[in-house]
């Protein structure tokens, strides 16, 4: 008797109507996730959707829908339904049609399994490196290896639209091997299961700050970012890189993205109010308030996405089997139809 409810559940789940419902429900939920902005802080939803709707969204995790336990449970239910249908089918006649259909359905489980593997064991990190800078991958949780950015380069079209971003990388002592390779968008470095992608870039400025008490500090500040000089007084330094300053016109405009006439606009900000600013060339310095700032130099930095993930190979195997199964399945059906 105890087995009966379980049997009933498996029978229901193995039926085609449940499979169709599951497909449509997953589709509807996925669509819903594109209509609600994902991954914002709970306050955002309270402000934009009002108290009640905002609360519903956060309580049901509709703001992190694709990671919500109940969405993952739906995907698990889909896998179960596929498996039960597969078992049911295998009991019936065995033909090319059934076999290929089985492969294509089990391939979907493989794809979702690979995704689960990535979620559990995949590891990635964003690393920003200035030209000449070096880091140890072990610091970011990967196998030991020394990663160096030898050079970063941007190619432009004549209208200054970016054509390609590329980084010349050295990866030394990674699992007993050395790599020296130029990566670009669409061309990552592959070292075993480790992949390094070109993901962003920017300018990095080397600035020396000297406080009134004579204490000096050397900092590396990325373009359009800020550095806290004194938290207690809400005092911070902001810097904007101007690669090709137009000196023929008033205001601060760049003629091109190329460093032909490079300047750095530094601003001293207190309580979000600018209390002093100056335009510096490399080697120049300026006194703002109690601080003296010197621009020692500047260089590109390259934003690299480093990733180690074996789940993706399961996913790709799943893709291959899905497609192969599907092609055989429908070609076989076509041949049967023509023969009839």
């Amino acid at each position: 008797m105890a087995k009966k409810p379980l049997q009933q559940i498996t029978t229901t789940l193995a039926s085609m109507s449940s499979a169709i419902y599951i497909l449509v429900i997953i589709g509807a939920i996925s669509a819903l996730g594109t209509l609600i902005p994902q991954g914002q802080a709970p306050d955002f939803y309270m402000q934009h959707y009002g108290g009640l709707t905002g609360r519903i969204i956060t309580v049901l995790s509709l703001h992190r829908l694709y990671q919500a336990w109940w969405f993952l449970a739906m995907l698990l239910l889909l896998c179960l339904s596929i498996l039960l249908c597969a078992v049911k089918r295998l009991r019936r006649t065995r033909s090319v049609l059934i076999f290929s259909s089985l492969i294509m359905h089990l391939a979907i489980i493989l794809v979702l399994g690979g995704a689960a593997w990535s979620l559990g064991y995949g590891h990635s990190a964003n690393i920003e490196l200035a030209e000449g800078q070096s880091v140890s991958l072990a610091e970011f949780g990967f196998a030991p290896g020394q990663l160096t950015l030898d050079r970063f380069q941007i190619d432009y079209y004549p209208d200054y639209q970016p054509r390609q971003y590329s980084s010349l990388l050295s990866l030394q002592g990674y699992q007993g091997q050395d790599y020296h390779q130029e990566i670009a968008v669409n061309h990552p470095l592959k070292a075993g299961y480790l992949k390094i992608y070109q993901s962003s870039w920017g300018w990095m400025m080397q600035i020396t700050t000297q406080a009134a008490d004579g204490q000096s500090k050397s900092i590396a500040l990325p373009d359009r970012s800020e550095y806290w000089l004194d938290q207690s007084r809400h005092l911070k330094l902001q810097a904007i890189f101007v690669p090709d300053l137009d000196e023929t016109r008033p205001g601060i405009n760049s003629l091109s993205p190329l460093p032909r006439n490079p300047h750095v606009l530094i601003a001293l900000v207190e309580h979000d109010r600018v209390i002093g600013m100056n335009l510096l060339r490399a080697g120049e310095s300026a006194q703002l308030g109690e601080y003296k700032f010197s621009l020692d130099g500047f260089s590109y930095y390259s934003g690299l996405n480093v990733k180690e993930d074996r789940g993706v190979y399961l996913v790709f195997t799943g893709f291959f089997l899905l497609l192969a199964g599907m092609l055989v399945r429908y070609l076989a059906e076509n041949m049967v139809r023509k023969a009839a």
Binding site: V24, G27, A31, Q161, Q164, P188, V312
Partner: protein, 259 residues
């Protein structure tokens, strides 16, 4: 030059619509004339694409406007194929109206000739876009055939089984190609962003269409869903395809911001 051919496409489509509206009232056989206009429209769209390719010095695979051109071209090719042995003014009419809608939408899209941005510089681009043209072309024709099936007054009208068969074959072909579109997109995304799936709106909606057509195929196989139900399903499926293409780009920007 390009504008001249685009205008020509528009005029030919209006003509196609008029001829097929006339066919609804007359007994005269104007099928061959309708076919001729379809061929001429195809030639004009191919001309637009060729002129654009020559001017840009690259394949016209870079933005939504260019995809709309390729999509229209695909629909015409499939229409010429599907209408063989099926004398139906309703099919030609629905194709004409659909193409008018797509061309009208495309005129509102930015059509400047831009170079390919770094993320698009990949051989995957060609496979991804070409298969999308085929998949969406098939779904478009399945929906047009669905309109034909619905507009027949009697379920037992001669030829309805044949229409039903053609709908099924179009959906199967479209489904296989949509699977390839999604797979090439995923493999490419892994190569360019290091993430084969990121629930970007365009990705998600293409998955939604895949699920809808998967549901259709299962319903048809297991419950013999034919006739009006299946006709409605392929029409709804295609409305979602159109939303994935145009609606998502305009209303829900994401990683596919260029398309």
């Amino acid at each position: 030059m390009e504008n001249l051919f685009t205008d020509l496409v528009f005029i030919l489509l209006l003509l196609l619509t008029a001829v097929n509206l006339f066919r609804l009232w007359t007994e005269r056989d104007l099928s061959k004339i309708s076919q001729l206009i379809l061929w001429l429209t195809l030639a004009a769209i191919v001309a637009v694409i060729v002129v654009r390719t020559a001017a840009a010095g690259r394949v016209p695979f870079a933005n939504l406007y260019e995809f709309a051109l390729l999509f229209s071209c695909g629909i015409l090719v499939f229409a010429l194929w599907v209408r063989q042995g099926l004398d139906s003014s309703r099919l030609d009419l629905s194709v004409a109206v659909l193409l008018l809608i797509i061309i009208a939408i495309s005129t509102t899209l930015p059509s400047e000739l831009g170079p390919l941005m770094p993320a698009l510089q990949s051989t995957w681009l060609h496979a991804h876009v070409a298969t999308a043209v085929i998949a969406y072309g098939c779904f478009a024709l399945a929906a047009c055939l669905g309109v034909v099936a619905l507009s027949r007054s009697q379920q037992t009208a001669p030829g309805l089984d044949e229409i039903e068969n053609r709908i099924y074959r179009m959906v199967v072909l479209g489904f296989i190609f949509l699977t390839i579109v999604i797979i090439t997109g995923a493999v490419w995304a892994e190569e360019v962003w290091g993430n084969w799936w990121s629930w970007d709106p365009k990705e998600t909606w293409s998955l939604v269409t895949w699920l809808i057509y998967a549901a259709y195929l299962h319903a048809r196989r297991s419950y013999g869903w034919k006739g009006r139900k299946s006709a409605w399903m392929v029409i709804i499926g295609f409305v979602i395809v159109m939303f994935t293409l145009f609606g998502v780009s305009i209303l829900l920007p994401g990683l596919h911001s260029y398309l």
